[in-house]
């Protein structure tokens, strides 16, 4: 037990909209080990954000968790009362979001917002809370934190706001930090600053990090393990090297091929044809079926099983021992190395 911090089993989340039930998460299981940095990649609508909003119990109406369990340190978060969850959020598990401007309260100073969290979860005096808040601002690299303490969010630039968000999230030294597209709204040079900060703090505070992103470059830089999501399901899971150098799922292969390489010869990009499935009426079989180059009859009819290869697993019929050997598929298993 000791090693696993968060364990999600058979999670199912749906949105009950007026046009029907959107099955955003369909039977998702994974875990986060303590101290690791897990990357979650996928396209918009693949369910990566919804999975972690479910974990945080922050889903808004009409979203609802309809099945499964979320064990954090062995306790099921889905069985906690609202009050108990409030004690966990911000203290044990923190989350930062894509847009730092809408996540900060514009009418309170940055300092106030950090102090609030610290006092909510710890029995400390205002003075102590303030000292700790300034220390946090300093840790995330905000220059002259004493004077910045009493600034309002609008006085901060985008990169500094995201740093402030991180300071708030880390102010109670959480065991798990969930970062949902933390750098998407930022410029590349600022993105580099924030990512190296998250990576550094992950080591320094020995907390687990979950990084939700659509950018494979970020995953390669920051994460140790990766989950690839598509159509509300986990398609593949493995170490960062497995995913990039030995992908097993055609979707992962497709993602790797569709991004431009930084090489000097001009090659044509290989897009994944078609569009993601409509989760109002999710397909019976593999959700990637209609976009997959290697699709077989069984893929349309039956949901593939997970096949384990060492620490790596993928949900694809091609990995079945009875599956035909497809040369092109075998070739692309080299991932980025094979120039796939």
């Amino acid at each position: 037990m000791s090693d696993i911090l968060l364990e999600v089993n058979n999670l199912e989340t749906s949105f009950f909209t007026h046009i029907g039930e959107v099955k955003a998460i369909r039977n998702v299981s994974f875990n986060v080990k303590s101290g690791e940095s897990l990357g979650v990649v996928g396209e918009s609508g693949s369910g990566k954000s919804v999975t972690f909003l479910s974990v945080m119990r922050l889903l808004q109406h009409p979203g609802k968790v309809i099945g499964g369990e979320i064990l954090f340190n062995g306790e099921d978060l889905l069985k906690k009362t609202t009050k108990e969850m409030r004690r966990i959020r911000g203290d044990k598990i923190s989350m930062i979001f894509q847009d730092p401007m809408t996540s900060l309260n514009p009418v309170y100073t940055i300092g106030n917002q950090i102090v609030e969290i610290i006092q909510e979860h710890n029995n400390v005096s205002k003075k102590e809370a303030k000292d700790r808040a300034i220390k946090m601002l300093d840790m995330v690299g905000i220059p002259s934190p004493e004077s910045r303490f009493s600034n309002y969010p609008h006085e901060f630039s985008g990169g500094m706001r995201q740093r402030a968000m991180i300071a708030i999230a880390l102010s109670c030294y959480p065991e798990l930090l969930i970062a949902d597209e933390p750098t998407t709204a930022l410029d590349v040079t600022i993105q580099a600053q924030i990512l190296s900060l998250i990576k550094e703090l992950n080591k320094k505070l020995n907390m687990s990090t979950v990084l939700i992103t659509h950018d494979l470059g970020i995953v390669a830089k920051v994460c140790t393990r990766v989950i690839v999501m598509y159509g509300g399901l986990i398609m593949e899971e493995g170490s960062v090297k497995d995913i990039f150098y030995n992908p097993l799922h055609p979707y992962t292969m497709g993602l790797l091929k569709s991004i431009p390489r930084l090489s000097s010869n001009k090659t044509r990009l290989v897009p994944i044809p078609g569009t993601p499935p409509d989760l109002l009426k999710p397909p019976k079989g593999c959700p990637f079926y209609n976009r997959c180059n290697f699709a077989m009859n069984i893929c349309k009819e039956e949901m593939p099983l997970y096949y384990q290869r060492g620490l790596q697993k993928a949900m694809c019929w091609l990995l079945d021992e009875d599956a035909p050997r497809v040369e092109e598929y075998e070739r692309q298993k080299g991932g980025v190395r094979s120039g796939a």
Binding site: E43, T189, A220, S264, R268, P273
Partner: protein, 327 residues
């Protein structure tokens, strides 16, 4: 590129936005969005413009297509300065220059059918109407990978990638020769981005189009462009051929920018060292004197504070604006 026949040349382009303070409009300050930018684009090539948000790359594009009136400078399109033309004289150029926008949700009128969205420019420019227009809409839809059945639908019935295709079909409806692509793929998912980029390349090939490709995704810009210009706070700091720029960047800002591209290869990412820039981009209202990058540059010296560096030819069609080259 084969021999350089220039389609567009921008000389000393400036675009300042007035910023008024208080209710009684007293002109107080100017936002110098584009401040003395010069470059040219050859026929049938793709010129990439990169930079961080607020560097003026979109304003440059929008000023060239005359959505904004330039504050100063020349926009020579096929030899004629279109920077000062009135609306009426601009009409023929509106047909020759078209634009594709970043946000496929905001750039299509939600109350018009696809047929009307694509057909309207043809009516305005007297290219086709009635049955002919209808045929041409179908033709254009096929060209961008959609079909006739989509013509009577409304934008909300389409996904982001499909909407971007409609935007491209609209731009193509008047047979333009020059298309300004302002972040055409940033709002799309990775797997869809490649579809749209490939299509843009095919269309360029078949219609001999010239592109100005504005983006902040440096790896995609490298993929699609022939030549690339790097902007910082309203200035062009470096211009070169794509491979020359990425293999041999000279300006300290370009170096930092290129090194911060996340590399989708874990071993390579581990090996490459990132140059992490300190601080943020200063405000374009009160930009630093001299070289605008000096506040974040670790090689700055006294001259950077006083003199604005000019773009210098360093050979191999590579231009850099930095005082380091003086010595």
């Amino acid at each position: 590129m084969e021999h350089s026949e220039r389609l567009l040349e921008v000389r000393g382009l400036k675009k300042y936005f007035e910023k008024r303070k208080g209710i009684i409009s007293k002109k107080v300050e100017y936002v110098k969005a584009v401040d003395d930018v010069s470059f040219f684009i050859n026929k049938k090539e793709t010129f990439g413009l990169v930079g961080e948000s607020g560097c003026g790359k979109s304003t440059t594009g929008r000023t060239i297509i005359r959505l904004y009136k330039p504050t100063d400078g020349k926009i020579l399109y096929d030899g004629e300065d279109i920077g000062k033309l009135g609306e009426k004289d601009l009409m023929p150029y509106r047909k020759r220059i078209q634009m594709i926008f970043q946000d496929p949700y905001a750039s299509l009128n939600a109350r018009m059918t696809v047929a009307d969205i694509i057909g309207e420019p043809m009516e305005i420019h007297n290219i086709a109407s009635g049955k002919e227009r209808e045929e041409r809409v179908t033709e254009l839809l096929n060209l961008v990978g959609l079909s006739k059945i989509h013509a009577s639908r409304y934008p909300h019935e389409f996904s982001g990638g499909q909407r971007q295709r409609i935007g491209i079909a609209r731009a193509l409806s008047v047979n333009p020769e020059f298309i300004i692509c302002d972040e055409p793929i940033s709002a799309l998912d990775v797997s869809i981005q490649a579809q749209v980029v490939n299509m843009l390349e095919d269309l360029q090939e078949s219609f001999g189009l010239t592109y100005l490709f504005i983006a902040h995704d440096l790896s995609m810009v490298r993929h699609i462009s022939n030549r690339i210009g790097v902007m910082y706070l309203g200035n062009l700091v470096e211009v070169a051929d794509r491979n020359e720029l990425y293999d041999n960047p000279i300006h300290p800002y370009t170096k930092a920018l290129l090194s911060s591209i996340p590399i989708p290869d874990p071993e390579l990412a581990e090996k490459t060292e990132r140059i992490i820039l300190e601080g943020d981009v200063p405000s374009p209202i009160n930009p630093p004197s001299g070289c605008k990058f000096r506040t974040r540059c670790k090689y700055k010296s006294d001259i950077c504070k006083e003199v604005v560096p000019k773009l210098i030819d360093v050979g191999n069609k590579h231009y850099v604006a930095c005082h380091l080259l003086q010595n």
